[in-house]
Subunit: 320 residues, 2 copies
């Protein structure tokens, strides 16, 4: 670690876009650039594209000698190995040695982790979890991800893949999940899960709803949100159902690590009270006595466009 | 910490007996004594009894100047505060400042933690989890306790009470648990839970069983074990039912901390393969792909009479 270098680079690698940004010690993004992840045919082309983007942003702040490290948040990335391992939603398969290849290209220390862990590090360094030593970050997007912080450190586990709370079972034998199991939290409480709930409710409920005007197969969690803020009863009930399941799961998570807070991040978290209120009610009902009223449930304090970059960048300070 | 002092004292405080032992650096118990916990009317009497017991065992190894610290494993004990907080199964109520009072009496550093955490520390220091940085200890006794180790450190959480895995819900709306909630792991998979399952099975099954010869209200998990090793089909089914629920819960725990192993400790764990085989089968069925076949499920390697003392003693090295 060379703390005298005043900047880090954060790389937010998504299935669609990859964003590269330079961040200073106070968490200000001072330069960014982006490219289409899928435009890179081979994984080596992708690494070359990141390197090119890094060189571009480094040019704006005085060159590579100003950079302490590079942090990358990427799907299925393993902090221990520096590899992306068997990603389901990327064009390349198998074991992809991202940290090693990027280091060999740029000669700057590189650390990688998965996107939810990067978000947790960002929240701890610059956001709502500043100063907290024990919290759980839940990312609600297409899937449900998590980053767990215990004693001020990310929990990576024995293999680097700890914190897969989206695959805790919330309904035994319930909905089929993309992971191959049934009844996972992700199958109910992701954006996709909310859309599935909408389809179920449209089928099993008889009441009228704004959602009935839409093509069922195309309904998104955003449609449910839009209907709910217009006062649509069924849409609100969908959020209550989602929040109930999430609150039950959160009460179990508290038994594990007794966190100071659970921080919600991602598109669905922007539903605000529509989701937070039923989560809190359900979590409180399910908590054992000594934790009732004591666990904070808070939204991310980072702008969604910046959180992933800031999280990856914060990891950059630890790269060596 | 004064590592030049060659011994620590471990105190295993139970609802019935309190055992005090001197342990050397290699985990050998060199002197012990015990007294009845409930013979002490006031909590201050109890502290005085521990002090007296400590003086007695210290006399056998050369006096207090040989002792680096005292570790106490006690129900509802909080590592952060040094207090026993609102114990359900002890004769004294409220907040009991054990570490402070014992330190004031003996002038030797004292650390306390709950019994399951002490067992985890013992297993990590002297037992089956030696060298492991990530594992989960599950104690199966009257209740279900847990001690979670992440990055080589006990997980205490924000308030010191992390690791209450016995109160994770395994059957929503299921059996009433002593904690006030329904469906907790403890209500199914403790020794008491096994006895409850036996009563349920006797009621709902029609087949003959050795268990039908016993007074139903007096059946214990030991009776179920005895029947099972004699080949009794219902008794074996009771262990399979218990193991199935435990394996489902363990698969969820793996999502949290991706441990190298889950270590089973306590009376019920001595059921061996009768319990371990169905747990493993169920856990494997419920694990997501990247963990299948990779999580060790092992019994404690410490003699049950020694584990609690050794665990508490290992904590003594950290007292300061």
């Amino acid at each position: 670690m060379t703390h005298c270098k005043p900047y880090v680079i954060g790389v937010d690698m998504g299935g669609t876009n990859t964003v590269v940004g330079v961040v200073d010690t106070r968490g200000k993004i001072v330069a960014t650039t982006a490219f289409k992840t899928r435009d890179c045919e081979e994984f080596s082309d992708f690494v070359e594209s990141i390197a090119k983007a890094c060189r571009r942003v480094m040019g704006e702040i005085g060159g590579p000698q100003m950079i302490a490290g590079i942090g990358v948040g990427a799907p299925n990335a393993n902090y221990y190995s520096g590899n992306i391992e068997n990603p389901a939603n990327l064009p390349w398969k198998g074991i992809l040695p991202l940290a090693e290849m990027l280091y060999n290209t740029l000669d700057i220390p590189v650390a990688v982790t998965n996107d939810a862990n990067a978000a947790a590090i960002g929240e701890m360094t610059y956001g709502a979890a500043r100063g907290m030593r024990d919290f759980i970050m839940i990312t609600l997007g297409t899937g449900v991800g998590s980053g767990i912080v215990v004693n001020g450190e990310l929990v990576y586990g024995n293999d680097g893949f700890a914190g897969e709370l989206g695959h805790v079972k919330v309904r035994r034998g319930g909905r089929q999940c993309g992971c191959g199991q049934r009844g996972c939290l992700e199958a109910y409480c992701s954006a996709t899960g909310v859309a599935r709930t909408a389809l179920e409710f449209l089928d099993t409920h008889t009441e009228d709803s704004l959602l009935r005007k839409l093509t069922p197969s195309q309904i998104t969690s955003k449609d449910v949100y839009d209907a709910a803020i217009q006062g649509d009863a069924m849409a609100k009930e969908i959020f209550e159902y989602t929040g109930k399941i999430m609150g039950e799961a959160f009460a179990d998570f508290v038994c594990f690590s007794a966190p100071e807070a659970i921080v919600l991040f991602g598109g669905l978290a922007q539903a605000g009270d529509l989701l937070i209120v039923p989560i809190r009610k359900s979590m409180e009902e399910n908590l054992i006595q000594n934790w009732k009223g004591k666990i904070k449930l808070i939204p991310s304090a980072l702008p969604s466009s910046e959180a992933a970059i800031l999280g990856a960048a914060a990891l950059g300070w630890k790269a060596q």
